[in-house]
Structure formats: C-alpha cells, structure tokens
C-alpha cells in the first residue's frame, strides 16, 4: 500500500486496518524526503534512526490496542523553533547551530503521546523573523509549486514539506502570520489557534504575547485533528488558558447555514492582486450558496496593525533573545577578551542581519526616553485593534479575507526592502495582536498556477466556527479544485 497523497487521518486508519504498518509508513516517508527534499530544502534535520525506533514502538502500541487515536503512526514534521528532546533545534540560526534540547515542547509531548512520529525539523526564517524563510542561516527553502519562488514564512519549511508530499502534516508557529501566509503560498491548510490554547512551553520565543504553535496539513480535517491533540492547559506556560473544551473535530460535521460572515472592505480596496480578490469573492459566494449571510463591512485601523506589530514584536524579541549570550548553549565566539566582549561577539557573529535589525529596534523602543512614545503607544493601539475586532464580532460569526496580498514572490525579491516584505503580512498580523484564531486554506490557483489562500478569522475560543466554514469551503471546492501534492 502506498501512502502517496494520503492525509494524516487516512494514514492512521490504514495502519489501524492493518493495510500497512507504522514502520512501512515511515520508510515510505523517508523515501519521499530523500527524493524530494534535495530540491525543496524544507528540512534542516531529519532523524531517521530515532524515527525508525519510534515507529517500531508505536506499531507495537497500535497492535496492543494502546494507541487508538487518529495520529497513531503518522510521521510529522516540526518547525525548528519547537524543542524536540534529543533532536537538534536551531531556530535556523547560527547561534543555536548545535543546540540539542533536553526536553520536549508540550505540543511535541502531546503529539508523541498520541503516537505521532517526529521525522525531522523544518527550515524557517531565523528565529521566525521574516516572511519568506530566506533569513535562515542554513538554506533557502523553495516553493514546491515553482522552485524559483519562496514558500513564504516564517514556517516555510513545514508548509513546503507538506505541499511537496514528503509528510502529510507538520507544526508551525504563528507570530504575525507565520503559519497562514506560507500555507497560502504553498497551497496547504494551516491554523493559528486562540492565544493560550497550545502551550508555548518549548517554543523558542520570538514575541511571547503573539506566538502560537499550530498545525499545517493538506486539509481542514487533519488540522482540526492535530489541533485537538496539541492543545492543552499547561502549568509550564504562564499564559496557557484553561478552556472548557478541547474538541475541534466535531465542528467538521457542522454547516454554515445562518452564519453571519463579514468581509473587511479595506482588505479588498488597495494593494491586493485582482486574482487574490477574486478568490476571496469566490469563497464568499460559496458561503452564501451554503446558507451563510455574507456582507462587506468596515474594519477600523487596518493600516495601523503593521507598525504596532513591529514595535511590540521587536520589543519582546529584544528581551527574549537576550538569553543567547554564548554561556549556556549555542555558539560562542572563538576570540574575545573578557565577559562583555564574549557576549557581544558571540551575539554579533551568531545572529543574522534581520534578527539584529529587530533586536536593535526593540532595544531602542524600550529604552528610556522612547518607551512612552513607541512601546506604550503601540500597546494602546493594540487595545484599539482588539476593540475593533470586538465590535466586528458583535455582528459577525466569522471574518473572511485574503491571507496575503499576492501569491508567492520570487526568491531574492523580498529581502531587498524590509518594509515591503512586512506588508505581505497586512491581513494576518492584526489577528495575533488581538489573540484571535484563524484558518488559512487554498481556494484557487492564479494564472501561473500558484496557490491562493483565503482565511477565516473567528472570535477568541471560537475555532469551531472557522473549522466548520473551512470544511464547507473545502468540500465545495473539491469537485473542481484538486491540489497536486506530488509536484516535485
């Protein structure tokens, strides 16, 4: 039996039905990675030996009836800023080039307990700072749909290895769109959960008030299943939320009849490609046909989200990245005199340009004399943005919009102008500021056969509404829109 083009849920069912073993599934996966990743360059590390060992153990667990869940035996890729015990975790940075965590992130622990098998760690923008995966210190990941294009970022590696059929699913992290935007560029589905839903314990922090781990897969059902597995209240994360329910898969059977869906008209007015706009309107029409009430509305403050985000994210980054000093782990400069020079040289040699840029900006906006004018101002704007969403969700169950203004840009184009690169996150970034959940899923192809995603944004803790809408859209599209995951 071949697992080609199978989803995670399908693979685990095949194993359960004894059509294939977890060991064979893993061998096929390793084969796919060997064939394809030379071109895609989505993985930083593949741990074949440990994965093989795990597959044996998991297969026994399944046979004994101890592992019965929908991810048992499923190989999964993990973004390289999420700690995996015994597997190198680099954040795609020279400063962590040799770091091997001594513990698992809670999300990884939850996956392992469910019987998923970690096959490797995926490339990303260094410390998740970037929108193209090009700021990685190790490799430039390519978009499987066109190898001259970027996969998006910062979770570009995870999205690219899923889109090229190397694995069925993976984990990413989303600070300003880092799951949704590469999902859109690569034609896969990704979820950014409500802040506090998935533990951040073991997620190497970028912007702690914005970061969330989330799933990337080929369809909505897999994403809901993975989200259900990785979500948990965790006392190791002080911002973890105790939710009433961690059930996301029951939403897959729900429809959108009677749902009120709003499209921010500011999202369709300027700076958006015509084909992306068409895709959003197509999704809107499908929702209408399925019984939802869809209308355009005015979402306030759209233009203020990016500047507020960069101040807050950079401020938090400058603080979070203070721990990389060449003492406890990672890179230490070879030549230095005294402790302070060791810190400075280790950091200056270990961090890449974009990371340094953001640490500098963050240190500046937090410094005395500038704190009120910049950092505090941004936190006030954050409240206004949150209130704008609160107002919108009084009228609507969901917000529908584009994920990114364009399809994937060509490699090398974006880094020339950081401010322009930041603009690619305009539709995703405010969701993180407001702590909201959102799902990105493919809806159309542009004239160059590059995927276009749309996103549904829900109010806090209402993932199930967006999962139901996503599932409805996916089902309707399925007849004339079957994505090919074996392009490479």
């Amino acid at each position: 039996m071949s697992i080609k083009n199978k989803t995670a849920v399908e693979i685990s069912k095949m194993i359960k039905d004894r059509q294939i073993s977890a060991v064979e599934v893993l061998e096929q996966t390793i084969q796919q990675i060997k064939e394809k990743d030379e071109k895609v360059k989505g993985f930083i590390t593949v741990d074949e030996d440990e994965a093989r060992k795990q597959a044996q153990i998991i297969q026994k667990g399944i046979e004994k009836g101890e592992l019965t869940g929908p991810l048992a035996g499923v190989p999964i890729a993990i973004k390289d800023n999420i700690d995996t015990k015994g597997i190198k975790t680099t954040c795609a940075s020279k400063i962590l080039y040799n770091f091997v965590p001594t513990f698992d992130a809670t999300a990884v622990k939850n996956l392992k307990e469910a019987g998923a098998i970690i096959v490797g760690k995926t490339n990303m923008d260094e410390f998740a700072m970037g929108s193209t995966s090009e700021t990685s210190a190790f490799a430039t990941t390519r978009n499987p749909w066109d190898l001259t294009k970027v996969p998006g970022g910062s979770s570009g590696g995870t999205c690219a290895v899923v889109a090229s059929g190397q694995v069925s699913c993976g984990l990413g992290s989303d600070t300003g769109g880092s799951i949704r935007q590469p999902s859109s560029y690569c034609g896969v589905t990704g979820i950014k959960p409500t802040y506090g839903t998935v533990s951040r314990y073991g997620l190497i922090a970028y912007g702690s008030s914005l970061d969330q781990i989330g799933p990337v897969a080929r369809n909505v059902a897999d994403c809901a299943t993975i989200l259900e597995t990785i979500s948990s209240y965790d006392r190791f994360d002080s911002t973890s939320m105790k939710r009433d329910k961690y059930d996301f898969t029951s939403a897959l059977d729900k429809d959108v009849k009677g749902m009120r869906i709003g499209i921010p008209k500011e999202y369709l007015e300027k700076g958006i490609d015509d084909e992306v706009k068409e895709a959003v309107l197509k999704a809107a029409q499908i929702m209408k046909d399925k019984g939802a009430k869809v209308e355009e509305f005015s979402l306030d403050l759209v233009d203020y989200a990016i500047p507020a985000y960069y101040i807050i994210a950079c401020a938090e980054a400058s603080s979070n990245l203070a721990r990389f000093d060449g003492v406890k782990y990672g890179y230490r400069s070879k030549e230095y005199e005294g402790l302070h020079e060791m810190y400075k040289k280790s950091r200056s040699e270990g961090f890449g340009d974009e990371v340094k840029r953001r640490i500098m900006l963050g240190s500046f906006v937090l410094s005395s004399g500038y704190y009120d004018a910049y950092y505090l101002k941004a936190l006030k704007v954050k409240r206004l943005i949150k209130e704008a969403y609160d107002k919108a969700f009084e009228k609507y169950d969901l917000i529908l919009g584009p994920v990114a203004p364009t399809t994937a840009p060509t490699i090398g184009e974006s880094l020339k102008d950081p401010l322009k690169m930041y603009l690619s996150d305009i539709y995703t970034i405010s969701v993180n500021l407001a702590g909201l959940p959102a799902i990105s899923l493919p809806c159309a192809l542009d004239k160059n056969k590059m995927p276009i995603g749309v996103q549904f944004i829900a109010n806090c803790f209402e993932e199930n509404k967006m999962i139901a809408a996503g599932q409805t859209l996916e089902k309707e599209l399925a007849e004339n829109f079957v994505l090919d995951f074996s392009l490479v």
Binding site: T102, A308, G338, M360, S363, L366, K382, G435
Partner: protein
C-alpha cells in the same frame, strides 16, 4: 527627508543595550534602517490614544499559586549538556572579577 535623525550616540547606546557589536558600515546601515522604521511607525501618531489604557495581555491574567514542592531533580547534567564550555559542574566563562 526623514523626520528622525538617529545620531552616532544613539546607535552606540542601543548597541550597548542590545549587546551587539557593529562595525562602522553596519552602524551606518542600522541608522538608516532605524530612521526608516521610525518614520514608518510614526503612522501610529495619527491616532489619539490619550485616554486609552495600554494592553499587554489579551486575557485577564491572574497569579497562579501552587505548593512549592520539588517534582524534578536538579537536572545538572542535562543543563550542562549544551554548554559551549564547562568546568566541573558549572558553565565556564572568562574571568569577571579582578584581583
């Protein structure tokens, strides 16, 4: 053209805060970067926020209390596993105290 002028002194000071060592060329670039970025984020000043409370957390955060019970060992070996340099049971660093 930029309304913000980042002086050598400011870049020097931020470099100290950030613990980053920049050469002259990098300093010039950082100045330009920061000026552009500050010009861009000035957009926020279009909004009157005088009566707005800053928002750090989306959800109300409360202190969580628990008994102070030891549930793990000191993890000394694991902690030192990734040390760039170690000596005995500690991280080895350059001498910091004169004398």
């Amino acid at each position: 053209m930029s309304a913000h002028k980042i002086t050598d002194e400011v870049i020097e000071y931020v470099g100290i805060l950030a613990k980053l060592d920049l050469n002259d060329e990098q300093k010039e670039k950082a100045k330009k970067d920061m000026e552009e970025m500050l010009e861009y984020v000035d957009k926020l000043n279009e909004l009157d926020t005088s009566d707005i409370e800053p928002m750090t957390h989306i959800f109300p955060i409360e202190n969580v209390f628990r008994e102070d019970e030891v549930t793990n060992s000191d993890g000394k070996e694991a902690t030192l596993l990734n040390a760039p340099e170690k000596k005995d049971d500690g991280f080895k660093v350059p001498k910091t105290i004169e004398g």
